[in-house]
Protein backbone atom coordinates (compact mmCIF):
# COMPACT_ATOMS: atom_id res chain seq x y z
CA UNK A 1 0.00 0.00 0.00
CA UNK A 2 2.87 2.32 0.89
CA UNK A 3 4.54 1.91 -2.49
CA UNK A 4 1.32 2.69 -4.28
CA UNK A 5 1.01 6.02 -2.50
CA UNK A 6 4.71 6.73 -3.16
CA UNK A 7 4.36 6.04 -6.88
CA UNK A 8 1.29 8.25 -7.17
CA UNK A 9 2.85 11.00 -5.08
CA UNK A 10 6.07 10.97 -7.11
CA UNK A 11 4.29 11.15 -10.43
CA UNK A 12 1.76 13.76 -9.39
CA UNK A 13 3.85 16.82 -10.44
CA UNK A 14 4.33 15.41 -13.95
CA UNK A 15 0.64 14.57 -14.16
CA UNK A 16 -0.26 18.11 -13.15
CA UNK A 17 1.97 19.38 -15.98
CA UNK A 18 0.04 17.01 -18.23
CA UNK A 19 -3.31 18.32 -17.14
CA UNK A 20 -2.13 21.87 -17.80
CA UNK A 21 -1.43 20.90 -21.42
CA UNK A 22 -4.83 19.19 -21.57
CA UNK A 23 -6.55 22.35 -20.34
CA UNK A 24 -4.47 24.53 -22.67
CA UNK A 25 -5.41 22.41 -25.71
CA UNK A 26 -9.07 22.49 -24.67
CA UNK A 27 -9.04 26.26 -24.16
CA UNK A 28 -7.38 27.00 -27.53
CA UNK A 29 -9.63 24.65 -29.48
CA UNK A 30 -12.80 25.78 -27.74
CA UNK A 31 -12.00 29.46 -28.35
CA UNK A 32 -10.97 28.99 -31.99
CA UNK A 33 -13.76 26.48 -32.60
CA UNK A 34 -16.42 28.84 -31.27
CA UNK A 35 -15.04 31.73 -33.32
CA UNK A 36 -15.30 29.54 -36.42
CA UNK A 37 -18.66 28.04 -35.49
CA UNK A 38 -20.63 31.31 -35.38
CA UNK A 39 -20.04 32.27 -39.03
CA UNK A 40 -20.40 28.60 -40.03
CA UNK A 41 -23.79 28.37 -38.30
CA UNK A 42 -24.95 31.53 -40.09
CA UNK A 43 -23.84 30.07 -43.44
CA UNK A 44 -25.47 26.74 -42.56
CA UNK A 45 -28.90 28.36 -42.34
CA UNK A 46 -28.31 30.53 -45.41
CA UNK A 47 -30.94 30.15 -48.14
CA UNK A 48 -28.36 30.24 -50.92
CA UNK A 49 -27.16 26.64 -51.47
CA UNK A 50 -23.81 27.93 -52.74
CA UNK A 51 -23.18 29.21 -49.21
CA UNK A 52 -24.85 26.51 -47.18
CA UNK A 53 -23.84 23.37 -49.09
CA UNK A 54 -20.06 23.56 -48.45
CA UNK A 55 -20.71 24.26 -44.76
CA UNK A 56 -23.24 21.44 -44.53
CA UNK A 57 -20.75 19.00 -46.08
CA UNK A 58 -18.01 20.15 -43.71
CA UNK A 59 -20.27 19.66 -40.69
CA UNK A 60 -21.51 16.30 -41.99
CA UNK A 61 -17.97 15.03 -42.55
CA UNK A 62 -16.59 16.13 -39.19
CA UNK A 63 -19.62 14.93 -37.21
CA UNK A 64 -19.75 11.65 -39.10
CA UNK A 65 -16.15 10.48 -38.70
CA UNK A 66 -14.20 9.64 -35.53
CA UNK A 67 -11.98 12.38 -34.12
CA UNK A 68 -9.06 9.96 -34.01
CA UNK A 69 -9.31 9.47 -37.78
CA UNK A 70 -9.34 13.25 -38.23
CA UNK A 71 -6.24 13.59 -36.08
CA UNK A 72 -4.45 10.86 -38.07
CA UNK A 73 -5.59 12.39 -41.33
CA UNK A 74 -4.09 15.76 -40.43
CA UNK A 75 -0.95 14.62 -38.59
CA UNK A 76 0.12 11.54 -40.58
CA UNK A 77 -1.88 12.31 -43.71
CA UNK A 78 -0.07 15.61 -44.26
CA UNK A 79 3.11 13.53 -44.63
CA UNK A 80 1.88 12.46 -48.05
CA UNK A 81 2.07 16.05 -49.26
CA UNK A 82 5.41 17.07 -47.74
CA UNK A 83 6.74 18.60 -50.96
CA UNK A 84 3.61 20.58 -51.68
CA UNK A 85 3.41 21.79 -48.08
CA UNK A 86 7.10 22.73 -48.12
CA UNK A 87 6.69 24.88 -51.23
CA UNK A 88 3.88 26.87 -49.61
CA UNK A 89 5.82 27.00 -46.34
CA UNK A 90 3.22 25.19 -44.21
CA UNK A 91 5.27 22.08 -43.49
CA UNK A 92 6.84 23.62 -40.37
CA UNK A 93 3.32 23.70 -38.90
CA UNK A 94 2.11 20.28 -40.01
CA UNK A 95 5.31 18.69 -38.72
CA UNK A 96 4.35 19.72 -35.18
CA UNK A 97 1.99 17.38 -33.33
CA UNK A 98 0.85 20.33 -31.20
CA UNK A 99 -0.32 22.29 -34.26
CA UNK A 100 -2.04 19.24 -35.76
CA UNK A 101 -3.77 18.48 -32.48
CA UNK A 102 -5.14 22.01 -32.10
CA UNK A 103 -6.15 22.09 -35.78
CA UNK A 104 -8.08 18.83 -35.68
CA UNK A 105 -9.70 19.55 -32.31
CA UNK A 106 -10.69 23.02 -33.52
CA UNK A 107 -12.23 21.80 -36.77
CA UNK A 108 -14.04 19.01 -34.92
CA UNK A 109 -15.55 21.24 -32.25
CA UNK A 110 -16.34 23.93 -34.84
CA UNK A 111 -18.45 21.40 -36.75
CA UNK A 112 -20.32 20.18 -33.67
CA UNK A 113 -20.81 23.72 -32.32
CA UNK A 114 -22.02 25.03 -35.67
CA UNK A 115 -24.58 22.21 -35.72
CA UNK A 116 -25.75 23.04 -32.18
CA UNK A 117 -25.96 26.76 -32.98
CA UNK A 118 -27.88 26.27 -36.20
CA UNK A 119 -30.46 24.26 -34.25
CA UNK A 120 -30.78 27.11 -31.78
CA UNK A 121 -30.96 29.76 -34.50
CA UNK A 122 -33.77 27.88 -36.22
CA UNK A 123 -35.61 27.62 -32.91
CA UNK A 124 -35.70 31.35 -32.21
CA UNK A 125 -39.44 32.13 -32.04
CA UNK A 126 -40.58 33.74 -35.26
CA UNK A 127 -42.57 36.36 -33.34
CA UNK A 128 -39.35 37.86 -32.03
CA UNK A 129 -37.90 38.09 -35.52
CA UNK A 130 -41.13 39.59 -36.83
CA UNK A 131 -41.23 42.16 -34.04
CA UNK A 132 -37.62 43.16 -34.68
CA UNK A 133 -38.38 43.58 -38.38
CA UNK A 134 -41.45 45.62 -37.54
CA UNK A 135 -39.22 47.93 -35.49
CA UNK A 136 -37.17 48.40 -38.65
CA UNK A 137 -34.03 46.55 -37.59
CA UNK A 138 -31.58 45.77 -40.36
CA UNK A 139 -30.51 42.16 -40.86
CA UNK A 140 -27.20 42.58 -39.07
CA UNK A 141 -28.83 44.38 -36.15
CA UNK A 142 -31.50 41.67 -36.01
CA UNK A 143 -28.83 38.98 -35.76
CA UNK A 144 -26.71 40.92 -33.29
CA UNK A 145 -29.45 41.96 -30.90
CA UNK A 146 -32.16 39.31 -31.22
CA UNK A 147 -31.25 36.05 -32.90
CA UNK A 148 -27.70 35.40 -31.70
CA UNK A 149 -28.17 36.28 -28.00
CA UNK A 150 -31.30 34.11 -27.85
CA UNK A 151 -29.62 31.31 -29.78
CA UNK A 152 -26.58 31.36 -27.48
CA UNK A 153 -28.75 30.99 -24.42
CA UNK A 154 -30.77 28.15 -25.94
CA UNK A 155 -27.61 26.42 -27.13
CA UNK A 156 -25.81 26.65 -23.78
CA UNK A 157 -26.82 23.26 -22.30
CA UNK A 158 -25.86 21.41 -25.48
CA UNK A 159 -22.70 23.48 -25.81
CA UNK A 160 -21.72 22.59 -22.24
CA UNK A 161 -21.83 18.93 -23.24
CA UNK A 162 -19.76 19.66 -26.32
CA UNK A 163 -17.03 21.41 -24.30
CA UNK A 164 -16.92 18.54 -21.79
CA UNK A 165 -16.68 16.03 -24.66
CA UNK A 166 -13.88 18.04 -26.24
CA UNK A 167 -12.02 18.22 -22.95
CA UNK A 168 -12.16 14.44 -22.67
CA UNK A 169 -11.38 13.98 -26.35
CA UNK A 170 -8.07 15.81 -25.91
CA UNK A 171 -6.83 12.55 -24.39
CA UNK A 172 -6.53 11.30 -27.99
CA UNK A 173 -3.62 13.65 -28.69
CA UNK A 174 -1.47 11.36 -26.53
CA UNK A 175 -1.56 8.98 -29.50
CA UNK A 176 0.34 11.49 -31.63
CA UNK A 177 3.03 11.76 -28.92
CA UNK A 178 1.81 14.87 -27.08
CA UNK A 179 2.33 14.79 -23.32
CA UNK A 180 -1.12 15.69 -22.10
CA UNK A 181 -2.45 13.99 -18.96
CA UNK A 182 -3.07 10.71 -20.79
CA UNK A 183 0.31 10.93 -22.54
CA UNK A 184 2.14 11.51 -19.26
CA UNK A 185 0.23 8.65 -17.62
CA UNK A 186 1.15 6.27 -20.44
CA UNK A 187 4.84 7.16 -20.13
CA UNK A 188 4.86 6.72 -16.36
CA UNK A 189 3.07 3.38 -16.74
CA UNK A 190 5.58 2.20 -19.35
CA UNK A 191 8.43 2.95 -16.93
CA UNK A 192 6.96 1.95 -13.57
CA UNK A 193 4.50 -0.85 -14.46
CA UNK A 194 2.12 0.70 -11.91
CA UNK A 195 -0.66 0.33 -14.47
CA UNK A 196 -3.94 0.77 -12.67
CA UNK A 197 -2.58 3.06 -9.91
CA UNK A 198 -1.45 5.65 -12.45
CA UNK A 199 -4.40 5.36 -14.84
CA UNK A 200 -6.87 5.60 -11.98
CA UNK A 201 -5.09 8.71 -10.67
CA UNK A 202 -5.35 10.21 -14.16
CA UNK A 203 -9.04 9.27 -14.27
CA UNK A 204 -9.63 11.02 -10.93
CA UNK A 205 -7.89 14.17 -12.20
CA UNK A 206 -10.06 14.15 -15.34
CA UNK A 207 -13.13 13.64 -13.18
CA UNK A 208 -12.28 16.63 -10.98
CA UNK A 209 -11.73 18.99 -13.91
CA UNK A 210 -14.85 17.74 -15.71
CA UNK A 211 -17.11 18.41 -12.76
CA UNK A 212 -15.44 21.76 -12.07
CA UNK A 213 -16.24 22.73 -15.68
CA UNK A 214 -19.83 21.50 -15.38
CA UNK A 215 -20.23 23.54 -12.20
CA UNK A 216 -18.90 26.65 -13.96
CA UNK A 217 -21.28 26.23 -16.89
CA UNK A 218 -24.18 25.74 -14.51
CA UNK A 219 -23.36 29.09 -12.91
CA UNK A 220 -23.24 30.68 -16.38
CA UNK A 221 -26.60 29.15 -17.27
CA UNK A 222 -28.07 30.49 -14.04
CA UNK A 223 -26.64 33.93 -14.82
CA UNK A 224 -28.01 34.00 -18.38
CA UNK A 225 -31.49 32.85 -17.45
CA UNK A 226 -32.08 35.34 -14.61
CA UNK A 227 -34.96 37.02 -16.40
CA UNK A 228 -36.72 33.69 -16.92
CA UNK A 229 -36.80 32.63 -13.27
CA UNK A 230 -39.44 33.44 -10.72
CA UNK A 231 -38.43 35.94 -8.09
CA UNK A 232 -38.42 33.38 -5.36
CA UNK A 233 -37.37 29.95 -6.48
CA UNK A 234 -40.25 28.09 -4.88
CA UNK A 235 -40.91 26.01 -7.97
CA UNK A 236 -37.45 24.53 -7.65
CA UNK A 237 -38.52 22.70 -4.54
CA UNK A 238 -41.42 21.29 -6.53
CA UNK A 239 -39.12 20.13 -9.29
CA UNK A 240 -36.89 18.38 -6.78
CA UNK A 241 -39.81 16.46 -5.29
Amino acid sequence: MGDIIDIIWDSLPRMLDGILLTIELTAFSVALGLALAVPLALLYVAKNPLLSLPVRSFVFYFRGTPLLVQIFLIYYGSGQFVDALKTVGLWTFFREPYFCAVLSLTLNTAAYTAYILRGAIQNVPFGEVEAARACGMSRSLLYRRIILPLAFRMALPAYTNEVVFLFQATSLVSIITLLDLTGVARIIVARSFAVYEIYITAAVLYLIVTYAMLWGFKKLEHLWSGHLRDRDDTDETFAAR
Binding site: V69, S78, Q168, R186
Partner: protein, 220 residues
Protein backbone atom coordinates in the same frame (compact mmCIF):
# COMPACT_ATOMS: atom_id res chain seq x y z
CA UNK B 1 -8.27 -5.37 -45.80
CA UNK B 2 -10.31 -2.26 -44.97
CA UNK B 3 -13.43 -4.32 -45.50
CA UNK B 4 -12.22 -6.86 -42.92
CA UNK B 5 -11.75 -3.91 -40.60
CA UNK B 6 -15.29 -2.71 -41.25
CA UNK B 7 -16.61 -6.13 -40.22
CA UNK B 8 -14.63 -6.11 -36.97
CA UNK B 9 -15.73 -2.53 -36.28
CA UNK B 10 -19.36 -3.44 -36.83
CA UNK B 11 -19.19 -6.54 -34.66
CA UNK B 12 -17.52 -4.65 -31.79
CA UNK B 13 -20.06 -1.86 -32.14
CA UNK B 14 -23.08 -4.17 -32.24
CA UNK B 15 -21.98 -6.27 -29.30
CA UNK B 16 -21.07 -3.16 -27.26
CA UNK B 17 -24.45 -1.66 -28.06
CA UNK B 18 -26.17 -4.82 -26.80
CA UNK B 19 -24.18 -4.64 -23.58
CA UNK B 20 -24.90 -0.90 -23.33
CA UNK B 21 -28.64 -1.58 -23.55
CA UNK B 22 -28.41 -4.10 -20.71
CA UNK B 23 -26.26 -1.76 -18.59
CA UNK B 24 -28.59 1.12 -19.46
CA UNK B 25 -31.73 -0.71 -18.36
CA UNK B 26 -30.04 -1.87 -15.15
CA UNK B 27 -28.68 1.62 -14.53
CA UNK B 28 -32.04 3.28 -15.13
CA UNK B 29 -33.70 0.74 -12.86
CA UNK B 30 -31.11 1.57 -10.19
CA UNK B 31 -31.51 5.30 -10.59
CA UNK B 32 -35.29 5.10 -10.31
CA UNK B 33 -35.21 2.55 -7.52
CA UNK B 34 -36.10 3.53 -3.99
CA UNK B 35 -33.45 1.11 -2.78
CA UNK B 36 -30.65 3.31 -1.50
CA UNK B 37 -27.82 0.96 -2.44
CA UNK B 38 -29.06 0.48 -6.02
CA UNK B 39 -29.59 4.21 -6.40
CA UNK B 40 -26.13 5.16 -5.14
CA UNK B 41 -24.46 2.49 -7.27
CA UNK B 42 -26.22 3.67 -10.42
CA UNK B 43 -25.52 7.31 -9.60
CA UNK B 44 -21.81 6.63 -9.05
CA UNK B 45 -21.67 4.56 -12.23
CA UNK B 46 -22.98 7.32 -14.49
CA UNK B 47 -21.06 10.09 -12.69
CA UNK B 48 -17.70 8.35 -12.93
CA UNK B 49 -18.08 6.99 -16.45
CA UNK B 50 -19.19 10.29 -17.92
CA UNK B 51 -16.38 12.21 -16.22
CA UNK B 52 -13.47 10.14 -17.51
CA UNK B 53 -12.23 9.94 -21.13
CA UNK B 54 -13.00 6.68 -22.98
CA UNK B 55 -9.32 6.24 -23.84
CA UNK B 56 -8.30 6.19 -20.16
CA UNK B 57 -11.04 3.65 -19.38
CA UNK B 58 -9.95 1.44 -22.27
CA UNK B 59 -6.34 1.58 -21.06
CA UNK B 60 -7.42 0.76 -17.50
CA UNK B 61 -9.44 -2.25 -18.61
CA UNK B 62 -6.94 -3.57 -21.16
CA UNK B 63 -3.68 -3.03 -19.26
CA UNK B 64 -4.95 -2.54 -15.71
CA UNK B 65 -7.25 -5.51 -15.13
CA UNK B 66 -4.70 -8.26 -15.94
CA UNK B 67 -2.09 -6.61 -13.68
CA UNK B 68 -4.64 -6.14 -10.93
CA UNK B 69 -5.62 -9.82 -11.08
CA UNK B 70 -1.99 -10.91 -11.24
CA UNK B 71 -1.04 -8.72 -8.28
CA UNK B 72 -3.95 -10.04 -6.24
CA UNK B 73 -3.15 -13.65 -7.07
CA UNK B 74 0.52 -13.05 -6.26
CA UNK B 75 -0.49 -12.23 -2.70
CA UNK B 76 -1.85 -15.77 -2.47
CA UNK B 77 1.32 -17.18 -3.98
CA UNK B 78 -0.13 -17.90 -7.40
CA UNK B 79 2.07 -16.69 -10.22
CA UNK B 80 0.45 -16.60 -13.64
CA UNK B 81 0.34 -14.22 -16.57
CA UNK B 82 -3.05 -13.13 -17.80
CA UNK B 83 -3.74 -11.54 -21.15
CA UNK B 84 -7.03 -9.98 -22.11
CA UNK B 85 -8.23 -10.38 -25.64
CA UNK B 86 -8.47 -6.87 -27.19
CA UNK B 87 -11.89 -7.62 -28.65
CA UNK B 88 -13.22 -8.56 -25.22
CA UNK B 89 -11.59 -5.54 -23.54
CA UNK B 90 -12.90 -3.15 -26.19
CA UNK B 91 -16.39 -4.57 -26.23
CA UNK B 92 -16.68 -4.61 -22.43
CA UNK B 93 -15.32 -1.10 -21.99
CA UNK B 94 -17.42 0.50 -24.72
CA UNK B 95 -20.50 -1.39 -23.56
CA UNK B 96 -20.09 -0.20 -19.99
CA UNK B 97 -19.26 3.39 -21.05
CA UNK B 98 -22.22 3.77 -23.37
CA UNK B 99 -24.39 1.95 -20.86
CA UNK B 100 -23.99 5.06 -18.71
CA UNK B 101 -25.30 7.22 -21.54
CA UNK B 102 -28.10 4.74 -22.24
CA UNK B 103 -29.01 4.91 -18.54
CA UNK B 104 -29.85 8.60 -18.92
CA UNK B 105 -31.83 7.89 -22.08
CA UNK B 106 -33.91 5.19 -20.40
CA UNK B 107 -34.43 7.33 -17.33
CA UNK B 108 -35.77 10.12 -19.53
CA UNK B 109 -37.98 7.63 -21.38
CA UNK B 110 -39.43 6.35 -18.11
CA UNK B 111 -40.38 9.87 -17.10
CA UNK B 112 -42.02 10.37 -20.49
CA UNK B 113 -44.56 7.60 -19.79
CA UNK B 114 -47.67 9.36 -18.46
CA UNK B 115 -48.04 8.93 -14.69
CA UNK B 116 -51.76 8.21 -15.02
CA UNK B 117 -51.09 5.01 -16.97
CA UNK B 118 -48.82 3.69 -14.23
CA UNK B 119 -51.42 4.54 -11.59
CA UNK B 120 -54.14 2.90 -13.64
CA UNK B 121 -52.06 -0.26 -14.07
CA UNK B 122 -51.45 -0.41 -10.33
CA UNK B 123 -55.12 0.25 -9.66
CA UNK B 124 -56.21 -2.78 -11.67
CA UNK B 125 -53.77 -4.85 -9.67
CA UNK B 126 -50.83 -5.38 -12.02
CA UNK B 127 -47.70 -6.46 -10.20
CA UNK B 128 -44.41 -4.73 -10.97
CA UNK B 129 -43.21 -7.23 -13.55
CA UNK B 130 -46.44 -7.10 -15.47
CA UNK B 131 -46.50 -3.30 -15.23
CA UNK B 132 -43.00 -3.11 -16.67
CA UNK B 133 -43.73 -5.65 -19.40
CA UNK B 134 -47.10 -4.39 -20.57
CA UNK B 135 -47.06 -0.67 -19.85
CA UNK B 136 -43.56 0.70 -19.35
CA UNK B 137 -41.24 -1.13 -21.74
CA UNK B 138 -43.41 -1.00 -24.88
CA UNK B 139 -43.72 2.77 -24.53
CA UNK B 140 -40.23 3.44 -23.23
CA UNK B 141 -38.70 1.96 -26.40
CA UNK B 142 -40.47 4.55 -28.46
CA UNK B 143 -39.40 7.46 -26.25
CA UNK B 144 -35.88 6.10 -25.98
CA UNK B 145 -35.34 5.53 -29.70
CA UNK B 146 -33.97 8.97 -30.66
CA UNK B 147 -31.61 9.00 -27.68
CA UNK B 148 -30.46 5.45 -28.32
CA UNK B 149 -29.80 6.36 -31.94
CA UNK B 150 -27.50 9.10 -30.71
CA UNK B 151 -25.69 6.72 -28.39
CA UNK B 152 -25.19 4.35 -31.32
CA UNK B 153 -23.71 7.11 -33.52
CA UNK B 154 -21.23 8.12 -30.83
CA UNK B 155 -20.45 4.48 -30.11
CA UNK B 156 -19.63 3.73 -33.76
CA UNK B 157 -17.10 6.55 -33.79
CA UNK B 158 -15.69 5.51 -30.42
CA UNK B 159 -14.80 2.05 -31.77
CA UNK B 160 -11.88 3.78 -33.53
CA UNK B 161 -10.26 4.10 -30.09
CA UNK B 162 -9.88 0.35 -29.83
CA UNK B 163 -7.23 0.55 -32.54
CA UNK B 164 -5.01 1.74 -29.69
CA UNK B 165 -5.11 -1.74 -28.14
CA UNK B 166 -4.30 -3.32 -31.52
CA UNK B 167 -7.66 -4.81 -32.37
CA UNK B 168 -7.63 -5.15 -36.19
CA UNK B 169 -10.68 -2.94 -36.72
CA UNK B 170 -11.17 -0.38 -39.48
CA UNK B 171 -8.76 2.30 -38.26
CA UNK B 172 -6.05 -0.16 -37.19
CA UNK B 173 -6.14 -1.91 -40.56
CA UNK B 174 -5.99 1.40 -42.45
CA UNK B 175 -3.07 2.33 -40.22
CA UNK B 176 -1.20 -0.85 -41.17
CA UNK B 177 -1.97 -0.33 -44.86
CA UNK B 178 -1.00 3.35 -44.70
CA UNK B 179 2.38 2.53 -43.19
CA UNK B 180 3.10 -0.35 -45.55
CA UNK B 181 2.29 1.61 -48.69
CA UNK B 182 3.38 5.03 -47.39
CA UNK B 183 0.08 6.59 -48.36
CA UNK B 184 -1.31 7.79 -45.03
CA UNK B 185 -3.72 10.35 -46.42
CA UNK B 186 -5.28 7.98 -48.93
CA UNK B 187 -5.93 5.22 -46.42
CA UNK B 188 -7.12 7.36 -43.52
CA UNK B 189 -9.41 9.20 -45.89
CA UNK B 190 -10.78 5.90 -47.18
CA UNK B 191 -11.35 4.79 -43.59
CA UNK B 192 -13.17 8.04 -42.83
CA UNK B 193 -15.48 7.44 -45.81
CA UNK B 194 -16.32 3.97 -44.47
CA UNK B 195 -17.24 5.52 -41.10
CA UNK B 196 -19.29 8.14 -42.90
CA UNK B 197 -21.12 5.40 -44.79
CA UNK B 198 -21.86 3.45 -41.59
CA UNK B 199 -23.14 6.60 -39.89
CA UNK B 200 -25.30 7.56 -42.89
CA UNK B 201 -26.89 4.13 -43.12
CA UNK B 202 -27.51 4.22 -39.36
CA UNK B 203 -29.22 7.57 -39.70
CA UNK B 204 -31.55 6.22 -42.37
CA UNK B 205 -32.36 3.13 -40.31
CA UNK B 206 -32.97 5.28 -37.25
CA UNK B 207 -35.48 7.39 -39.17
CA UNK B 208 -37.24 4.22 -40.33
CA UNK B 209 -37.24 2.75 -36.82
CA UNK B 210 -38.65 5.94 -35.34
CA UNK B 211 -41.41 6.03 -37.93
CA UNK B 212 -42.16 2.37 -37.24
CA UNK B 213 -42.22 2.88 -33.47
CA UNK B 214 -44.54 5.86 -33.83
CA UNK B 215 -46.98 4.04 -36.13
CA UNK B 216 -49.57 3.86 -33.37
CA UNK B 217 -49.34 7.52 -32.46
CA UNK B 218 -51.98 9.86 -33.76
CA UNK B 219 -50.59 13.18 -34.91
CA UNK B 220 -52.48 16.42 -34.99
Amino acid sequence: MLWDGVQVTLSVALSSMALALVCGLLGAWGKLSSNKLAHTTAQTYTTVIRGVPELILILIVYYGTPTLIQDTLELYGIDIIIDINPFLAGFMTLGVIYGAFATEVFRGAYHAVPKGQIEAAKAIGMNRMLLARRILLPQMWRFALPGLGNVWMVLIKATALISVIQLPELLRNSDIAARALRMPFTFYFAASLYYLAIVSVSMLLQKRAEAWAARGVRRA
